[in-house]
């Protein structure tokens, strides 16, 4: 079975985010970019399935700017077999919406015929939490979101999902779309020899037009603002003082 893993290039999760002065978005010029942490978990899971003999080929896909090539090289260095880059914009500040991404992924799935698509549950930039669900709808496939355990057994997979009340286990028919949560696994680091080898792995470059998908946004950004700042607080010297302050504030 082939596994397809979409990966997104996003601002590194340790970087302090700054809103651009003109309110058009967040400043991404000269900022460290990395693979979306949830997508790393998806890549790792695909590799583990391959190591377990349940997947025989891993194809990583990224949709966005040309620089997403680096993100794909990271996926290849971790253990993906080949990569497809779909250049959909040349503006590093443009975010391709989940619906457009899902449409491009659908076209790639139609070509590649994977048995499993493993996605991150959300991207830490737009925090939409939507691409996997949308792809699943477009394909008419089964969907298992927020996975913390994935157990593929022949024509079905048992997936444990992190939900508001605790954990829910469902069984989905293959082919399936699975979106992964934080506790599914701990992604490996790529070793230096694997980073070197990854440079020679195949990376196809396509454009959104090759798949006939219109990527123009449905949601127009009216403005982007800093969140309201909290008023500065105080340091209390003891538990007694804390209780006194909480009583004054009417909090207890």
């Amino acid at each position: 079975m082939k596994a397809l893993v979409p990966v997104k290039r996003v601002i590194d999760y340790n970087v302090k985010v700054r809103v651009k002065a003109d309110g058009s978005g967040v400043d991404l010029a000269n900022v460290k970019m990395s693979m979306n942490p949830f997508d790393e978990i998806a890549v790792e899971e695909a590799i583990r399935l391959k190591e377990a003999g349940k997947v025989d080929e891993i194809v990583a896909v990224s949709i966005g700017v040309k620089q997403a090539q680096e993100t794909l090289r990271t996926a290849l260095a971790m253990g993906a077999d080949r990569a497809i880059l779909v250049v959909a914009t040349d503006d590093v500040h443009a975010d391709i919406e989940p619906l457009a991404v899902a449409k491009i992924l659908k076209a790639i799935v139609d070509e590649e015929q994977p048995g499993l698509v493993l996605c991150g549950k959300q991207a830490i930039d737009n925090d939409m939490n939507a691409t996997g669900q949308m792809l699943s709808a477009l394909l008419g496939w089964s969907q298992a979101t927020f996975a913390s355990e994935v157990d593929v057994e022949g024509n079905s997979a048992k997936i444990t999902r992190e939900v508001d009340g605790g954990l829910q286990t469902i069984s989905v028919k293959m082919p399936a779309i699975v979106t992964v949560d934080l506790r599914l696994n701990e992604p490996r680091y790529a070793s230096l020899p694997n980073i070197m080898k990854a440079k020679k792995k195949p990376l196809d470059e396509k454009s959104a037009a090759d798949y006939g998908v219109d990527v123009s946004p449905r949601l127009e950004v009216v403005k982007t603002e800093e969140p309201a700042q909290r008023a500065a607080g105080i340091t209390v010297g003891s538990v007694d003082e804390l209780i006194e302050k909480l009583k004054e504030a009417g909090a207890v």
Binding site: D127, N129, Q133, L219, E220, V236, L242, L246
Partner: protein
């Protein structure tokens, strides 16, 4: 203009707080019809009919809707979509599973986690773990939206909406429910509690997490946790507060042994009063705290519990 609101129904029961908060958000958009779907949903539908501002309730009962599996539930909502300009839900894990699927079936974008309604097409939502707030205007004919419940007050009771029974859509039969592992607790529910006490990695072990629970019980509070505390097995996954966990905005939030990473702050920085107890005075949690106590939690928390 009509709004279809997917009620939060768990095991046949209406989650009143989440649903009533979404009703408040939805009322700004038009006439609200609530959909109560489940293996049994009639009681939930009757409860929803009493929420002020709801004009109609649709009840769909079918085994396929029992565990809120995305495929049959999304198919049902898409089949009803013709009559509505907005399809909305509280931003629970159920709705986040289902509504993006509905949006794609309708060929429209999803607007996740909206925190404010500007007008019928324009919404505010946090991005980058709440480090920026974006105002987005939709050009889609239908708007599919999940509302972050922490940002809206619950609609009151006193409604008397009509209740109509409808049938489920065809079940595509793609997935099946196997089991739930639900932690039973007598404590208040995290997202609706007035006070939340959360523990982080600093608490150090599952046994010592009892310190957090005892303090919470003294305050009548819900218990929360950082990702590190959940990953280390001190607390259950459904207690995680943050960018990828639950978003809370109680009257009082007490963070114990939590450093204050942006991903954690994303889930609690709209709380009214924030208390931080941490032995490291440089911990970023102190930057959002109204009252910071630099202390060893193993001394401070038992003392606080005793003196309250």
């Amino acid at each position: 203009m009509a709004v279809l609101l997917l009620a939060e129904v768990t095991g046949g029961e209406l989650a009143m707080d989440a649903t009533a908060k979404a009703v408040t958000a939805a009322q700004a958009l038009g006439d609200v019809t609530v959909l109560a779907a489940g293996a049994s949903a009639a009681a939930a539908g009757d409860a929803a009919a009493k929420i002020a501002g709801v004009s109609k309730v649709l009840v769909a009962e079918d085994a396929s809707l029992g565990h809120r599996l995305a495929e049959p539930t999304a198919a049902l909502i898409a089949s009803l979509a013709g009559d509505y300009e907005h399809i909305v839900a509280p931003a629970t894990t159920d709705a986040k599973n289902i509504l993006p699927r509905v949006a794609a079936l309708l060929d429209v974008m999803i607007i996740s986690d909206a925190t404010a309604v500007v007008d019928g097409a324009t919404f505010e939502r946090p991005i980058y773990a709440g480090n920026a707030i974006q105002t987005m205007k939709s050009s889609d004919a239908k708007k599919v939206i999940t509302f972050r419940t922490a940002n809206f007050d619950a609609a009151g009771e006193g409604g008397s909406a009509s209740v109509e029974t409808i049938s489920a859509a065809d079940n595509p039969g793609l997935s099946e429910w196997v089991e739930n592992k639900v932690a039973k607790s007598d404590r208040p529910e995290l997202t609706s509690a007035g006070i939340v006490v959360s523990g982080g990695r600093g608490v150090g072990s599952e046994e010592d997490f009892a310190l957090i629970e005892t303090l919470a019980d003294k305050l009548g509070a819900a218990v929360g946790a950082s990702r590190a505390a959940v990953d280390s097995g001190y607390a259950a996954n459904d207690l995680q507060v943050g960018q990828t966990g639950k978003v809370v905005a109680p009257e009082l939030y007490v963070a114990v042994g939590i450093s204050g990473a942006i991903q954690h702050l994303a889930g609690m920085k709209d709380s009214k009063v924030i208390v931080a107890i941490n032995k490291d005075e440089e911990a970023p949690i102190f930057q959002v705290a109204d009252f910071g106590l630099v202390a060893d939690l193993f001394d401070a928390v038992p003392e606080l519990t005793q003196k309250l």
